[in-house]
């Protein structure tokens, strides 16, 4: 973690619910975390675990008429959820920027790439001429060759990787404090994925920003994150420094994720999938949302929701298992995984 340790973002008890005709969808429940300057926070979870919704809430991109949001999001000490839309608009894209999963769909097909980046600049008061220059400068910075002429291209003339680079350039226009990357590599070829992750890491160092990296790929998190947040059914299951989470995962869901993750040495036949499927967010199971799929469940699991607590000498998790048991199983998993990988 960065030595200056300046807290950029504090999310406290964030809860997002969507009322629908079928019932209320509990997309995010009681999520709290912090982000320091220079830190990469990896948020891991499968589809529907609430990781994207949490970030859209931070960006103020959820429709407040349809999403009921409670809790606090403090950015540099300023509470974002209670800001009027016009104030939030000034922060969005300037202090907090976001890139998305599918770079093929995220750029407007009918405008030139350079113009779209320049528009992000003019949106926050930079003149048109300077904005154009800034767009070219940033395209060059994110590794687009012949940036000046490529800025005049349309998105369909860019490859997937180049489009994601362009999205990163757009996000960096105002030297934001926070970059939220929502599954930035999921839609890309494997070879390009590594380049994009490297680029995000580079710009994090160079621009000294905090990065929230949302992914369902544990490998991506292992490579780049300083801290990790594991989400399941809208709740945080495990939260701690990346080293600690990977060496001694404490939550049965995290163990399941590790077992189901392929490595070069681990063949498909050796993968152990997590039994069952993710729960309904309209009628989540009582108690711990993971208990119906958990091989370690015992008495209290279907009775009450386990709180997220950080015991002495370990990182935070929300599981009722005794700590020594969790540490024993977790280390054994990690060791076996490392053994297989070596």
């Amino acid at each position: 973690m960065s030595s200056t340790s300046e807290t950029l973002l504090q999310v406290r008890n964030l809860t997002v619910r969507f009322p629908t005709i079928d019932g209320v969808v509990q997309a995010v429940s009681d999520v709290s975390f912090t982000l320091q300057r220079g830190e990469t926070l990896g948020i891991v979870g499968e589809s529907g675990s609430g990781k994207s919704v949490s970030n859209l809430a931070i960006m103020g991109l959820l429709n407040r008429k349809r999403a009921l949001i409670t809790g606090e999001i403090l950015f540099n000490g300023r509470e974002l959820l209670s800001l009027p839309p016009s104030e939030m608009q000034k922060i969005r894209g300037k202090d907090i920027a976001m890139i998305f999963q599918d770079p093929f769909a995220c750029l407007h097909p009918m405008y030139r790439v350079g113009d779209q980046i320049a528009e992000a600049a003019t949106a926050h008061g930079i003149g048109k001429h300077d904005a154009d220059a800034r767009a070219v400068e940033l395209l060059d910075r994110v590794g687009i060759p012949n940036a000046k002429s490529r800025a005049r291209d349309y998105p369909h003339q860019f490859s997937g990787g180049m489009r994601q680079r362009a999205m990163i350039a757009m996000a960096l226009v105002h030297n934001p404090a926070i970059l939220i990357a929502d599954e930035p590599t999921t839609a890309l070829d494997v070879t390009v994925q590594a380049q994009i992750l490297e680029l995000i890491d580079d710009v994090k160092q160079e621009f000294d920003i905090g990065v929230i990296l949302v992914t369902h790929d544990l490998g991506v998190v292992a490579e780049t994150a300083d801290s990790v947040l594991v989400m399941y059914a809208g709740r945080i299951q495990e939260y701690g420094e990346a080293d600690s989470v990977f060496k001694a995962p404490q939550h049965p869901y995290a163990w399941g994720l590790l077992d189901s993750m392929p490595t070069v040495e681990r063949r498909l036949a050796q993968l152990v999938p997590i039994e069952g499927s993710p729960p309904s967010l309209i009628a989540p199971p009582p108690g711990c949302a993971f208990h119906p799929r958990c091989p370690h469940r015992f008495a209290p699991c279907d009775q009450e929701v386990p709180p997220l607590v950080a015991p002495e000498g370990a990182h935070a998790d929300s599981c009722f298992l005794p700590l020594d048991r969790k540490l024993a199983i977790g280390s054994e998993r990690a060791a076996r995984r490392l053994g297989l990988a070596s």
């Binding site: 922060i91 998305f100 097909p109």
Partner: protein
């Protein structure tokens, strides 16, 4: 881009050629009986029939007749360009009849299309922004009325209320623009509005649905994430993509109306191309009818070309493929 337009031009030419072939087949080849009699109008005399046979070259092999027909159309005949022949029943050239009637229909379309395009798109946008509110419901209610109400009823009601009762506008008939813009527009304002209402309703619904669909696209989220105002997100990013299908429909609607907004022209007694088509059918004036048909079909082909070229300006993916 140049190559694209050139290719479209060649296609348009081929389409017009096929249209001519079909028109020729329908009017010259397929029906039973003597072609000359059909073209002679209500009172065929032996002398007239003979003249028709000579002038249309009917004694020749039919492919030669067709070549002559096509040559006249593209190169013009003794009455001017495009060569549409002579109305034997009416005693004038078809071209002169059409050029006399065309301004009425074209002015009617021009005014109505401006009204329906602006109001239709505007209502569609507002309704999409205010989705599921009273405004949206009212706008879509209006659209439903506009689509359902028959033009002959709407036209008569409009004339009754606005002209006869309130005396706000000129009445039926057409006043040329040369007799003063006020009188001209005063007579056209009702037909413009009535004709535009139907189309405005369609366009409002289409704009609303396209825009709502576009607003769910990922690039709209990107536009919001940049910190753009919602107004700019909708008008610059949303509407741009929603316009493509509207341009297509606009082009074809205009083209089809060139053949005559028959009901509107009848209700308001604007003796334009639609009226001409009806009259020529009633008078068995086949040459004129053929002329109107060819003109309409060609207009559709040409408007398709225009739409294709506009596409290339609107959507860069078309331009560069």
């Amino acid at each position: 881009m140049v190559f694209y337009i050139a290719r479209r031009l060649v296609w348009t030419f081929l389409v017009v050629l096929i249209v001519l072939l079909i028109t020729y087949a329908v009017f010259f080849l397929l029906p039973d009986g003597d072609v000359a009699t059909r073209f002679a109008g209500k009172a065929p005399t032996p002398a007239l029939l003979h003249e028709i046979r000579v002038r249309l070259g009917l004694n020749r092999w039919w492919p030669l007749q067709f070549v002559y027909f096509v040559k006249n159309f593209f190169a013009g005949d003794s009455y001017g360009w495009p060569g549409l022949g002579y109305s034997f029943g009416g005693g004038v050239s078809v071209l002169s009849e059409i050029t006399q009637r065309a301004p009425r229909t074209l002015w009617l379309i021009a005014g109505a299309s401006v009204i329906w395009l602006t109001t239709g798109v505007a209502i569609g946008v507002i309704s999409a922004i205010k989705r599921r509110t009273i405004v949206d419901r009212a706008a879509m209610g209006f659209a439903l009325v506009g689509i359902s109400a028959p033009v002959f009823w709407l036209g008569l009601m409009a004339l009754w209320i606005v002209w006869r009762t309130l005396h706000l506008t000129g009445g039926t008939g057409y006043t040329p623009i040369s007799q003063g813009v006020g009188a001209w527009a005063g007579h056209l304002i009702l037909p413009w509005t009535v004709l535009a209402l139907l189309y405005a309703a369609f366009y409002a619904r289409m704009t609303r649905n396209n825009l709502l669909e576009t607003m769910g696209e990922d690039y709209i989220r990107t536009a919001r994430a940049k910190g753009l105002s919602e107004r700019r997100v909708i008008l610059k990013h949303g509407l741009r993509s929603s316009l493509t299908p509207i341009v297509t429909m606009f082009g074809l609607d205009i083209a089809l109306l060139v053949g005559g907004a028959i009901i509107t022209e009848s209700v308001f007694n604007i003796q334009g191309l639609g009226w001409l088509a009806i009259q020529s059918a009633l008078n068995q004036d086949l040459p004129t009818l053929v002329g109107v048909v060819m003109l309409t079909a060609t207009a559709v082909a040409v408007m398709n070309l225009v739409v294709d070229i506009l596409y290339a300006f609107i959507d860069p993916r078309v331009r560069y493929s």
